[in-house]
């Protein structure tokens, strides 16, 4: 393949560095400095995809972020697949592999051409709107075909081989865009000493100056760019970020920048480099120098390959030395686009005609065109393009001066390239991200950034100042203003003199009229990516959609990955005309982040795999791993779930752990329970207010169980709190609830009762906690301590003692969550593993058995002990749980939850109440969540009584046990209820007391 459209000289490409690449299975060659788009054009590749709805051939239209058609799938391997890459923004590298994302089953095999008209009928405007009104099943059927045909790209099926980084910055001035405006703004701000970040989406900074033929101070524009960048690079206070798109403008001047750091190097990043970076920037002031996108004109068959933006044609010629055709017809509403005809002619190709929609176009640019011998057709327009796979001609006709009608005879101009310019659309996207609406400006013939609460300034073309010299001066003064506002008094940088021709006024024309009404004219495309035509927008207004937001949703205009950068304004103009309104009356849709698609890799950064979420380990974790524990995630904690031996199933392991504990002694790592140290002379009073039970008389050395409710009276956490000293308590909470409880305590202390002298802090990580449980617990512990008197009558149930265990200081609590004789040993976390191992050194003779959270759950359920968050769900108060013993109504202070649990709904009969559930068949273990009904034969809907909250097989009892809520359950002991299951079985069960084992509580008193 030869680069038949490549010029022999000129451009910013390196002809000495040829690069091979693949597109759609074919091999091509380009040069260093090319984009994928410029390389494809150099090779004369006209058709790069087929359109979404009508399957029409499409070519490259633009040279920058606004490109709607050349959106490709990149990647040489499965792991390096990247969807949604705009070929105009992808730098070429050797070995690049790309695929069109549209055009199933192939660009050349015109399968969709056959069914395209069928699909076109299947997908009328309003298709999505109407489809979503259909039953879901219908959508499922279309969806997979539409997706495949529409070419939305696909994600890789293998893990990404690259790494991505996040960087955080604070800066005084962030300048978005390094074109003439941004560069001069950066000079002003940098010279004043402000910290400046200058970000630009392209590989090379300079923007339009890189393809500009105007002279700055009578020298090539690129020379000024080079000098300016050299100066900026020399400042320590300036960070230049090329290949970095500012994609999101968020609240309080927080902006996100997507830097494609090594996407230009190879299929994946070089060793030890990240592929992309997400810069998170908090800027004092932001200067938007985002420029403007040229707006194409809408006319019949304007989507044929060969129809391009005028400025894009100039960019390809001047920057990439690629002339994308032989014979050019240029249609324009303004003087600026005349440059394209001159560039084309200077490249040695034929300019067939300049079709100027303005009859009044007589000025310096027209004089220059005439001097060059170019034909200008004034007051005329291209009403349709001719051709099948590429433009072969342009149908030209006269235009009334208001641009509303076609007049006179038609003529056909032979050409293969049809460039158009309808003026400029300021790139207002970022200015809209925080909710500001852009405002229409008649002089700029475009929307300009609206008022904002952000510390944001706008400069240059985005603010409607399109001429190069305005951009330079505006940039310099706005850059100085931003620096000054940020606290660095600055003067505008001196800007170079631009030698150019004066321009005469542009014409506001968007959609070129056709002799036929738009509904019967050749298709006039407004949005290429979603295949929305002018006729479709008119249809939407006829069907009664008047708001532009509704028209957008009805037609899907602007819904593509390009967010309608090219087509939105034209679409609004078509809608406005159809509604007999002005464009500002019609309004604009709002742009949202991100400006261009961002990869998931960049968003995730390093927050994946092991670094996805912090993991918390107890001090004994290593031992658990060595001893074959299976782990369970509880919040961020890894907790041993159970400790299987060799061939044991989970249930076999649980049975063994349960029996060993009840028969001799077991041990649980309970370090993850939340622990809050509470001190102060009002600590006791504070506890009385936040717990439902009494704390006024708890003596030093004693422990007490407490329930915590919210103001609505519903239980949200529980645990044992111990009195360490008259003004000192240690509270325990559930593992998952620890942080929430501490914040809850602080909330009440800081906002409601700041007068209470109380202080609290988390001590969860300070202590390692091990629970010895079982009839031999005392004997084992006695071997490890000689200063704690373990006598059953002197160290009683719900007492705690300070002493030494295994030679280290310890707090030992005689509390029990299993119903067995039980000691909870707390030592400094660093001693945890030592004490644990010492217990095992001595424990062999008692068959000391480690157990995990699952056995803990079974043992406590046998005793009817609740787990807050499992047996409660925010709708259960202490009385529902049958725990009236834990509520002390006559405390002087109206504790949290007291008033709530007295509300009418909380005291009614028939509330769901916690009960025990025994299946009639003892071998059946009900699934948690199963719903109880009285009569399974009841016609639908069957009244539901409540659900199972906890359910296990109990080896100690030789049967299944469950806890659950049942309406009015406390008064239904012995009743039979039924649990219909998802698999069709109906399980019969009996309502019983929640305490299945040792109802008298004798076991803990041994």
């Amino acid at each position: 393949m030869t680069q038949r459209n490549r010029l022999d000289t000129g451009g910013r490409i390196d002809r000495g560095t040829p690069l091979g690449f693949k597109f759609n299975g074919q091999h091509y060659q380009g040069f260093a400095g090319d984009t994928l788009a410029s390389a494809l054009l150099a090779n004369g590749v006209d058709v790069i995809g087929r359109s979404f709805k009508y399957s029409r051939p499409r070519g490259i239209v633009a040279a920058s972020a606004e490109e709607p058609n050349a959106v490709f799938q990149l990647g040489a391997t499965e792991a390096t697949q990247v969807p949604n890459v705009r070929a105009t923004q992808q730098e070429l590298f050797d070995g690049l592999v790309s695929q069109p994302t549209s055009g199933w089953p192939g660009l050349k095999i015109d399968f969709m051409g056959v069914v395209g008209s069928l699909l076109g009928r299947m997908l009328p405007p309003g298709f999505y709107y109407k489809t979503f009104m259909f039953p879901q099943a219908a959508w499922d059927t279309y969806e997979k075909y539409i997706r495949k045909a529409a070419g939305l790209g696909r994600s890789p099926r293998k893990p990404d081989v690259d790494t991505y980084d996040h960087l955080n910055h604070h800066t005084d001035v962030l300048i978005v865009g390094a074109g003439p405006t941004g560069l001069s703004a950066a000079l002003s701000a940098a010279r004043a000493g402000a910290r400046v970040i200058l970000a630009d989406e392209q590989a090379e900074m300079g923007g339009s100056l890189l393809d500009c033929t105007d002279k700055l101070d009578d020298k090539p524009a690129a020379e000024w760019v080079r000098g300016t960048l050299q100066e900026l690079a020399g400042y320590d206070n300036v960070l230049l970020l090329p290949r970095a798109t500012v994609n999101g403008y968020h609240d309080h001047n927080f902006l996100t920048i997507h830097e494609r750091r090594t996407d230009h190097c190879a299929d994946h990043a070089p060793t030890n480099l990240s592929r992309q970076r997400l810069h998170r920037v908090r800027a004092r002031w932001v200067v938007l120098a985002t420029g403007a996108h040229e707006r194409p004109l809408v006319y019949g068959h304007n989507d044929l390959p060969g129809c391009m933006l005028a400025s894009a044609v100039s960019t390809y010629i001047n920057r990439y030395a690629v002339v994308p055709g032989r014979k050019l017809v240029l249609m324009t509403t303004n003087d600026n686009a005349y440059r394209t005809a001159f560039d084309w002619q200077d490249a040695g190709r034929e300019v067939v005609a300049i079709v100027d929609t303005r009859a009044y176009a007589t000025g310096a640019w027209q004089a220059e065109a005439e001097r060059r011998g170019l034909k200008i057709l004034k007051g005329m327009a291209v009403i349709e393009a001719r051709g099948r796979q590429r433009v072969t001609g342009a149908v030209v006709a006269g235009l009334t001066s208001d641009g509303n009608r076609v007049t006179g005879d038609r003529q056909i101009l032979n050409c293969d390239t049809l460039a158009s310019s309808g003026g400029w659309s300021p790139v207002v996207h970022l200015s809209c991200h925080t909710g500001s609406r852009p405002v229409w400006d008649d002089d700029a013939i475009g929307f300009l950034p609206g008022k904002t609460v952000q510390q944001q300034l706008v400069a240059g073309a985005v603010n409607g100042r399109y001429s190069l010299s305005d951009c330079l001066t505006d940039g310099a003064s706005i850059g100085a203003e931003a620096a000054t506002k940020a606290g660095f008094p600055a003067k505008p940088a001196t800007v170079p003199f631009v030698r150019t021709r004066p321009e005469i006024g542009a014409m506001a024309l968007f959609c070129v009229p056709h002799p036929k009404p738009n509904s019967r004219a050749p298709k006039q495309f407004v949005d290429f990516q979603t295949d929305v035509t002018a006729a479709a927008i008119e249809l939407a207004t006829r069907e009664g959609f008047e708001s532009i937001e509704h028209i957008k949703r009805y037609t899907a205009m602007g819904f593509g990955t390009d967010q309608g950068k090219l087509g939105n304004i034209n679409g609004m103009a078509v809608a406005a005309k159809s509604l007999n309104q002005t464009i500002p009356e019609t309004g604009t849709t709002i742009f949202r982040p991100n400006y261009t698609p961002v990869t998931f890799g960049a968003i995730a950064g390093r927050h994946c795999n092991d670094l996805f979420d912090p993991i918390r380990y107890s001090a004994m974790h290593e031992w658990h791993v060595r001893n074959g524990a299976r782990f369970e995630d509880v919040g961020q904690w890894k907790r041993p779930w159970y400790f299987p031996k060799a061939d044991e199933t989970m249930q076999q392991a649980l049975n063994r752990e349960c029996l060993a504990t009840r028969e001799s002694v077991g041990i649980l790592d309970a370090s993850t329970l939340g622990k809050i140290d509470i001190q102060g002379k009002d600590a006791r009073e504070f506890l009385g207010r936040i717990y439902t039970n009494a704390w006024a008389k708890l003596p030093v050395g004693k422990c007490r169980y407490g329930l915590m409710c919210k103001e609505d009276g519903m239980v949200f956490d529980d645990g044992v709190t111990s009195c360490m000293g008259e003004n000192h308590f240690v509270m325990t909470t559930t593992t998952g609830g620890a942080a929430g409880v501490l914040e809850w305590l602080e909330l009440y202390h800081q906002t409601e009762w700041p007068e209470l002298d109380v202080y609290m802090n988390t001590v969860t990580d300070h202590w390692a906690t091990m629970t010895l449980a079982g009839p031999n617990a005392r004997k084992l512990l006695a071997e490890l301590t000689d200063d704690i008197d373990l006598d059953r009558d002197r160290f009683r149930f719900m007492d705690w003692r300070q002493g030494t265990v295994a030679g280290v200081p310890a707090r030992v609590f005689r509390i029990s969550f299993t119903g067995e004789l039980s000691y909870e040993i707390n030592v400094q976390a660093n001693y945890g593993l030592h004490v644990w191992e010492t217990l095992f050194d001595h424990g062999a003779k008692y068959k000391l058995t480690p157990y995990g959270t699952e056995t803990m759950h079974i043992l406590r359920a046998e005793k009817g002990f609740i787990i807050a968050g499992q047996d409660t769900d925010g709708s259960v108060h202490p009385y529902d749980l049958g725990m009236s013993w834990a509520v002390k109504e006559d405390k002087p202070f109206s504790f949290i939850g007291k008033r709530g649990m007295k509300r009418e709904d909380c005291v009614r009969a028939n509330r769901k109440q916690l009960v025990g559930i025994k299946t009639k068949d003892p071998s059946v273990v009900l699934p948690e969540g199963a719903q109880a009904v009285d009569n399974p034969d009841h016609p639908l809907p069957v009244p539901m009584l409540g659900h199972i909250t906890s359910s296990y097989y109990s080896a100690c009892l030789g049967r299944s046990i469950a806890l659950g809520v049942i309406k009015g359950g406390h008064n239904r002991m012995g009743d039979t209820v039924h649990y219909p299951l998802a698999d069709g079985r109906i399980v019969e069960a009996e309502i019983c007391n929640t305490i299945f084992l040792d109802p008298e509580g004798e076991r803990q008193n041994v």
């Binding site: 609240d251 309080h252 925080t434 609460v453 602080e746 800081q750 906002t751 700041p754 709530g900 007295k902």
Partner: protein, 105 residues
């Protein structure tokens, strides 16, 4: 992503360090047991949801753990002031925005 000034730390910090705890300046009734169900229901469930000026509680959760008040424009997301628990807002009307900018500067 908000940028919040913690009145206890005396610094602007990123939103990730904070979280909101709802409407500010709501007091727990002095005598809960004397409240009717309706009064108690109002206290625990009913909150204002204004478009515009709003006083709300935030907590510097992974900083100093202090709760403080924020006056925020719920439409523009501007933070007009932050102030300590127990003190009154300076800004009670969106027309005072200008004043807030001066306060913050």
């Amino acid at each position: 992503m908000f940028y919040l000034f913690c009145p206890y730390c005396g610094e602007h910090r990123e939103e990730e360090e904070f979280h909101p705890r709802g409407q500010a300046h709501l007091s727990r009734p002095e005598d809960p047991d004397g409240c009717t169900d309706e009064e108690w229901g109002d206290f625990i469930y009913f909150r204002t949801n204004p478009r515009g000026l709003h006083h709300e509680i935030w907590v510097h959760a992974v900083g100093c753990r202090k709760f403080f008040n924020v006056t925020r424009d719920t439409q523009s997301y501007e933070i007009l002031e932050t102030y300590r628990m127990g003190s009154a807002p300076r800004i009670t009307d969106l027309n005072d925005k200008q004043q807030s900018r001066e306060v913050q500067a």
